[in-house]
């Protein structure tokens, strides 16, 4: 059905293009054969330039009206607020410049459309004008640069102040694993050369490293609200990127090195679910999903908002489905969840010693 519709649209467009050519031809006064723009071409296209300016404004307004509700909700991390504010200011500046320059460009195109015998102004240079439009961007950009760099340095300063919890994000084709540093809050050494699939040591932890024993390996990321998290990223095969859009956080995972990012979640998942924008979004999405369910299509289960970790660096066939759920909860909930998870010692090493015991028997 869709195919038929598309074909119909394409055929109609083709006809429209042919008709437009005819209109352009007919709008020429005399049956002349010259392919150089004459006064009537200039007039038509001058007006069209003006119309195009309105189109640009129109599509801008339309997009904001229809699509701004799609944008990410309020930032859920400590630095996210600064990020969003800087983004807002940058956008305001951009839109002022965009509105003015497009207006000038297209209005001049319309206003000064050519006419036979009209004289253009020989105006080749004006140092003062050029100085003005060099210095204004310089000042504005200097401001943005300084502000941006200040924020950047703050965000990227991964340190041990404020008692952060240390979490490793481990990427592989095509899933994520998280490792908590455990009681000692120090991650045990790890390298892909120590991966032992048979023993389920999938992250290649150093079994002889005492820091590794209390590490906790999980497939779902839980974070306590209000506590700083220092992420250490690793990848075992190709480049991945740990993208947590709701937290305004992203860092590539690079095989052979450990990368870092740090943020403090400020809203729990359940608080975020109460956020007005998020509630609207969930409602809209579930309407779409209900419609799908009615049509018997896939992806029709009702959705509940969750923070999410996506892969944002092309990594192969299932790149589009490499994700991990993030749950931000209260410290108590987090503690009790963590207590339920087995440590490396309890899962892998124990299995190891029982195997040894079996061998000895």
């Amino acid at each position: 059905m869709t195919t038929v519709l598309i074909l119909a649209v394409l055929v109609l467009v083709a006809i429209a293009i042919w008709q437009m050519t005819k209109i352009f031809e007919l709008s020429q006064l005399k049956a002349e054969t010259s392919q150089i723009a004459n006064d009537s071409d200039n007039k038509t296209n001058g007006y069209l330039l003006f119309a195009f300016l309105i189109f640009i404004y129109g599509i801008t307004i339309f997009s904001f009206w229809k699509y701004s509700k799609f944008l990410l909700p309020e930032a859920a991390s400590g630095h996210g607020e600064d990020y969003d504010y800087l983004m807002l200011i940058s956008f305001v500046i951009i839109f002022i410049v965009q509105t003015l320059t497009q207006a000038l460009l297209h209005y001049f195109g319309y206003k000064y459309r050519g006419e036979e015998g009209k004289k253009a102004l020989f105006y080749a240079d004006n140092d003062r004008l050029e100085f003005i439009w060099t210095i204004i961007p310089v000042i504005v950009l200097a401001g943005l640069i300084l502000w941006g760099l200040y924020t950047w340095t703050t965000i990227m300063d991964v340190n041990d102040e404020d008692d952060p919890i240390v979490v490793e994000l481990y990427a592989q084709q095509f899933n994520w694993t998280a490792r908590y540093a455990g009681e000692d809050n120090v991650l045990g050494d790890a390298n892909v050369r120590m991966i032992d699939i048979n023993k389920a040591n999938i992250l290649g932890l150093d079994e002889s490293d005492s820091y590794a024993a209390d590490d906790i390996v999980v497939k779902e990321l839980h974070l306590p609200v209000g506590r700083k998290v220092n992420f250490k990223m690793r990848s075992q095969d190709v480049l991945h990127s740990a993208y947590m859009p709701h937290f305004r956080a992203q860092m590539n995972c690079v095989p052979g090195m450990i990368t870092e990012f740090s943020f403090t979640p400020i809203y729990t998942t359940s608080e975020m679910r109460q956020n007005a924008d998020v509630r609207d979004k969930v409602k809209r999405t579930n309407e779409i999903r209900a419609e799908r369910a009615a049509n018997g299509e896939e992806n029709s289960d009702p959705w509940q908002f969750d923070y999410i970790l996506l892969c944002n660096k092309i990594c192969g066939k299932s790149h589009y489905n490499m994700q991990m759920k993030i749950i931000v909860e209260t410290q108590e909930e987090y503690d009790s969840w963590l207590a339920e998870q087995g440590t490396f010692a309890e899962t892998v090493l124990k299995q190891d010693s029982s195997e040894t015991a079996m061998n000895m028997q």
Partner: protein, 609 residues
Amino acid sequence: MSVTAHAHVDDHAHDDHGHHHKETFVTKYIFSQDHKMIAKQYFITGVLIMGFLGIAMSLLFRMQLAWPGESFAIFEAVLGKWAPEGVMDADIYLALVTIHGTLMVFFVLTQGLSGTFSNLLIPLQIGARDMASGFMNMLSFWMFFVSCVVMVASLFIEAGPAAAGWTIYPPLSALPMAQPGSGLGMTLWLVSMAIFIASSLLGSLNYVVTVINLRTKGMSMTRLPLTIWAFFVTAIIGIISFPVLLSAALLLIMDRSFGTSFFLSDIFIQGEVLHYQGGSPVLFEHLFWFLGHPEVYIVLLPALGITSEIMSTNARKPIFGYRAMIASILAIAFLSTIVWGHHMFISGMNPFLGSVFTFTTLLIAIPSAVKAFNYITTLWKGNLQLNPAMLFSIGLVSTFITGGLTGIILGDSTLDINVHDTYFVVAHFHLVMGISALYGMFAGVYHWFPKMFEGKMMNKNLGYVHFWVTAICAYGVFFPMHFVGMAGVPRRYYQNTAFPMFDELTDVQVLMTVFALIAGLAQLVFVYNFISSVFYGKVGPQNPWKSNTLEWTTGTKHIHGNWEGAIPEVHRWAYDYSKVDENGEYIIPGQDFVPQTVPLQKDEEELQH
């Protein structure tokens, strides 16, 4: 017109050579050393054929994005086993994205654009009989042709073409077990690009030498048309940065085939540890973007140069701020080589380095802003001849501004964090370099078609339709795309169905795809117009746009050597449009332009340059 055509100089007569010997079909049309023929060869191979493939691929994956998992007969027909029962496979989706990027950036907009217009215009506009080395020029084209053949051949191999994205970051591109496209497909990609780089270097060296050495008498650097300045500087950036890509490609070939570890370390894939140790993918990113970022300007500067020339001619006004335009080109060229790190803010490199690159990146906005304002002022109080070429030039300034402004977001390391590698980036660079450069190229074709095809003109009405449909669709595709990116949708996702948070964006995807399909159709109008004009186009006047530059002083008929008699001498810059004397009369009565070959009149001042 009295003074126009008689500015011949006798002492140039001795190099009046080359157009007497007999030419066979092979030397004239195939292994031609004539820059005009080579320009056409570049256009047909680079733009028409590779451009067709590149755009067609984008339409295919746009359809997949709008209607994920839907079966289309066209998929099955074109993709064969890669679209079982008409449903596009995820691997071929990535391959299409990769090859689309490669074809458009390198083949269409680098060699297609520069190859066509640098070859056509450099000798004609500086007053030279041909390129400094016609043989090297021919060699450059044929290497380009071979690299095209290799790249197209890679589409037909068993495991499919390269699919690691046009940036081919290792380890994905280095390990055949990571994805099927990283096997023979990637090898062919690298071979093709190595040949391409050699071709590009041969071409660029030739352009630089020609501009420096073969300018006609009186053609000082400050009298050069801005097109030539743009081509000249573009060639220099190419010479500086392409060798670095070659080294990256060579090291990657070593890693892939000879077991070295330049870019690879600590890899465990498909149940086994690989031997690689000590390399870093970040090193590859540095090398790649050391070319990759200048590449953006290699694509864009020629388009801006073409626009400068066309806008001035059709506005019947000198380009505003000629020297500022040159300074901007030089500043952009210089800065373009020290901003590459803004592609790598979150690659894991030291954040301090990120600060430095933010600084240099935002600096580049300054010369860009100067250029945009100068274009707008050039229109002010003009007598605008709205030919298709002029419309495309105005369109270029429009998309250059729209796309350039979002660069302020992406160039800021802080703001880049959350939009990096999302559709926001895709929207940004398609507008600022893809669409803008394509507009510049189309403007050039409409404007210089008479020079390419012996005076024949393209149909202007088809040109208008082509422009307006394209202009509306380009914004229709890429404006809403910013919002998709701001919603957090990553690029290079085969489908967005795995994330319920992207469900409601499906309608936007459909809208963008419909605009893209219509835009694709509009390009067929151009192809039809081009081909029919080549064969049936009506011959127009010798100087149809009443332009000042030297190419319009050559005869309509092509001869090897360009000028029938002596090479003309130049007496003024290229932008004396609507220049008046103190009585307010045109310098040449009844004519609003003064070609470069016209000597300064009595009491006339040589202004502004």
